[in-house]
């Protein structure tokens, strides 16, 4: 902070401000983008380089109890990937689930400056916040799991909609979360109550409740819309990973009825019915999903692309983890979180010769290539579920380089490829579109007005890449990374360490709701009500993003 910078001669990609590869100066003052910089400001000559806002990851799994379980269950993943300390940065371990410090440095090392942990149980919020605090450089936040919450279900079932909305706001605020997350709504209740049971359609009855996933999802969309959250409900649909789930996904999207709703890692929810003689091999449903998103401006999604190689399935969707463990190999974890959620972890390897894995890879690419609005179909691999975030540069190359994509297509399971639509797609992403799907788009969907753009007053999170025909190489190692105006990486090397901010929301609610919640706690929780809310010590460095009513009220 306090220092000023002037980046000159770089080709600037700032889609939020309509700047598409123009050579112009970018000035930084006091951690923000400024119209000008003082004459003695440090100059960075970015000739032959590309200047973009810092990357924004809208959906990844990087902190909290389940991430830590995933680290603990695969020590072998860390042995060969040691992240050594440097003069300014700390050490860690890598693999598909890196340690907290390595996570922050590796994100920064790819030019990312903001990332959202996508699934934390309310009870795990403290742990997640402590880990996020130890995740350097990047700004971060998390989505809180509310889609299988017993008390919220009760309120919804009894039609106490105002209390439901207040309770949702309470839960988001006291956990310091950024957005509400639904994971396979209703699935956990069945999974916990019956042997190997799961939700199969939006109209299944949810265990003992007089509720269906349809009613639950609609209720959450309604409440989140009323609260005016900067990021809407973030949904992991029912039937994720199952052949033929495209119908469920489309039905869920229709429930939004014009209201903003975000669909997480839709690739995993875009599978058509089984093909040929097989009972289980999915076809591609990417075209239907892409078409629906294209024509419904209230819907947004991140792709959740699959990249071949080691990954870790890490989900609040416990029955899904149970299904995958039979393909996954030797070990898995299943955990339950009281009245709040389930959890499953399976170390997994995607193989290009395996039909289903190749289909998943193709569906992810199809979604990208069929999307007509990059602002609403944004970049993710659901790290580490579809692949580690360190594979992002390769995914970018697959989108930008048709020949590279073709060469890779020749190596994967051809039957799967035949049944996908990938062969018909010759589109190549431009740098401007990459800047949208990796930065400007996610920032806009998150309601982070000062991120993902380089307009005056924006956070000075800037990445400078050296242009290279090999886009994988180009995006693997930015020459400079600037966070909050500080030059973190210079000439590919860390110069200083940096602590990012926690981004969270604090929606207003009627304090009377605590009288409704407290008795439930005393009856059913292992933790006292008074000890549940996370206090400010867990977020020493934070920024509250206002809800729509708060932002409107703040204006004179």
């Amino acid at each position: 902070m306090g220092s000023s910078l002037r980046i000159v001669n770089g080709r600037v990609y700032d889609p939020a401000n309509g700047v598409d590869g123009e050579v112009r100066d970018v000035c930084i003052r006091d951690g923000k983008i400024a119209a000008d910089a003082p004459p003695d400001a440090k100059r960075i000559d970015a000739a032959g380089m590309v200047v973009m806002p810092g990357g924004v990851d809208i959906h990844c799994h990087i902190a909290g109890p389940k991430v830590n379980l995933a680290r603990k269950v695969q020590p072998e993943d860390h042995r060969y990937d040691v992240h050594p300390r440097t003069r300014v940065t700390r050490s860690g371990t890598g693999g598909s689930v890196p340690s907290t410090f390595a996570t922050g440095y590796r994100y920064a090392g790819l030019g990312y400056t903001t990332a959202m942990e996508a699934a934390v149980t309310p009870l795990g919020a403290r742990h997640a916040l402590e880990e996020l605090h130890d995740t350097p450089v990047i700004d971060k936040g998390f989505y809180v799991l509310v889609g299988n919450n017993v008390l919220l279900y009760r309120l919804l079932q009894e039609g106490r909609l105002e209390e439901f909305r207040n309770a949702l706001a309470w839960w988001i605020k006291v956990t310091k979360a950024y957005a509400p997350k639904l994971v396979n709504p209703g699935g956990d209740e069945l999974w916990k109550g019956q042997r190997n049971a799961n939700i199969t359609s939006l109209d299944d009855k949810i265990g003992p409740f007089e509720l269906t996933p349809r009613k639950v999802i609609a209720g959450f969309i309604e409440a989140a819309t009323a609260l005016g959250l900067p990021h809407p409900v973030h949904i992991h649909c029912n039937n994720l990973g199952h052949t033929g789930n495209v119908a469920t996904t489309l039905e869920t999207m229709r429930l939004a009825e014009g209201r903003r709703t975000h669909f997480a890692h839709v690739q995993f929810n875009s599978y058509g019915p089984a093909a040929g003689k097989s009972q289980t091999n999915p076809t591609s449903g990417a075209r239907e999903i892409a078409e629906f998103v294209n024509t419904h401006p209230n819907i947004s999604a991140d792709v959740g692309a699959v990249m071949f190689g080691r990954s870790t399935i890490m989900t609040g969707d416990a029955p899904l983890a149970y299904m995958l463990r039979q393909f996954g190999g030797t070990k898995w974890v299943n955990a339950d979180t009281e009245n709040e959620s389930g959890c499953g972890i399976v170390p997994f390897t995607y193989q290009d010769r395996v039909y289903t894995n190749a289909m998943q890879w193709a569906v992810g690419l199809e979604l990208f290539l069929l999307s007509q609005d990059p602002w609403r179909m944004v970049f993710s691999t659901d790290h580490p579920n579809g692949g580690s975030f360190v594979t992002y540069p390769r995914l970018i190359r697959l989108l930008m380089d048709r020949e590279f994509r073709k060469a890779r297509m020749a190596e994967v399971n051809q039957k799967a490829l035949d049944r996908s639509g990938l062969r018909d797609l010759s589109r190549e992403y431009s740098l401007n579109e990459i800047a949208i799907v990796t930065r400007a788009g996610p920032a806009r969907l998150l309601g982070l007005t000062r991120k993902g753009q380089l307009g005056v007053g924006a956070d000075a999170d800037v990445t400078i890449y050296e242009e290279d025909p090999d886009k994988e190489k180009m995006f693997s190692a930015p020459r400079y990374v600037i966070k909050d105006g500080e030059l973190i990486i210079e000439d590919h090397e860390f110069r200083v360490d940096h602590e990012g901010r926690l981004l969270h929301v604090a929606p207003d609610f009627d304090p009377g709701i605590e009288q409704v919640i407290e008795p439930f706690f005393e009856d059913f929780y292992t933790i006292r009500f008074a000890n549940y809310a996370v206090d400010d010590r867990y977020a020493p460095h934070h920024e509250i993003i206002p809800t729509a009513p708060q932002a409107a009220g703040a204006r004179p």
Binding site: V73, Q74, P75, E76, R79, G329, T330, K331
Partner: protein
């Protein structure tokens, strides 16, 4: 004359010496070898700060060198080696010959834990005792030794042959608990007695013992016979210097199948008294 290292200053904390392989030392003079970098605790140091080095390395990767002294705090000796020979006059520390693919290591004294984890070839001979996890899978890995031989004249600790898939672990003395736990295939021969829960979770593979043993309830008696392969194997172990008695070579063995919680295709062979 090949290189000879004599421990002059015993390390006070573990010394990580992956450089002590025939390939790394190939063609080096004594002063050059003394300059090689090791990690002492959390600090880098030169090999020469701890060892007196004499001689000149043999050319090529297939050279031989000797280590003398109490090396029980020197770790990773011969780790990843592919050929050549290391002779250790004294005891040696953890991770001896870890992930080695070929060559031979002879230890005249004792070895600490983790002898030859995940090795794929070559031979390790320990004349004394060895610690836990002889020929084991590293923590988290599903597969341990994939080939090669480990011969221990003395006793070993727990989990010998953990997760091994191929190869041989031969123990002249007693084995600790959980010998052959989660074994996928391969052979473990114990001339002494087995500890508790031998072969727990084994899928395939053979565990041979010369003494009565109480097995897990998931092992079931199959037959008593004199397997031909065992005769050949024991004769070979005798040539390697293990005290194999004639009665063991020509003896009949009870075959117990297990572990039924897994494939049930493994076997524990117990010499009939």
């Amino acid at each position: 004359m090949s290189l000879a290292f004599t421990l002059r200053t015993p390390p006070t904390v573990p010394l990580e010496a992956e450089v002590l392989t025939p390939a790394r030392l190939a063609g080096l003079s004594a002063p050059e070898a003394a300059k090689l970098s090791v990690v002492h605790g959390n600090e880098r140091a030169d090999l020469g700060e701890f060892f007196q080095v004499q001689g000149t390395a043999d050319g090529g990767g297939a050279g031989e060198f000797r280590l003398t002294g109490d090396l029980s705090r020197v770790k990773h000796v011969g780790a990843g080696m592919a050929d050549g020979r290391i002779v250790i006059h004294g005891s040696v520390g953890m991770h001896l010959g870890a992930e080695m693919t070929g060559g031979e290591i002879i230890v005249e004294g004792d070895a600490a834990d983790w002898v030859g984890p995940e090795m794929t070839g070559g031979r390790i001979v320990i004349k004394g005792n060895a610690g836990h996890m002889v020929g084991a899978a590293s923590r988290g890995s599903a597969v341990g030794v994939r080939g090669g031989e480990i011969v221990v004249f003395g006793n070993t600790g727990n989990e010998a042959g953990h997760g091994m898939r191929r190869g041989l672990v031969a123990i002249g003395g007693d084995a600790g608990d959980f010998a052959g736990v989660s074994m996928l295939a391969g052979t473990i021969v114990v001339l002494g007695s087995l500890g508790w829960r031998a072969g727990a979770g084994m899928r395939r593979g053979s565990i041979v013992t010369m003494h009565p043993v109480e097995l897990l309830p998931t092992f079931s008696y199959a037959c008593t016979y004199a397997p031909l392969y065992l005769r050949l194997l024991l004769a070979r172990l005798r040539r390697l210097g293990l005290p194999v008695a004639d009665a063991q070579v020509s003896g009949r063995y009870q075959r117990w199948s297990g572990d039924a919680v897994e494939l049930n295709k493994g076997e524990v062979l117990i010499l009939e008294a």
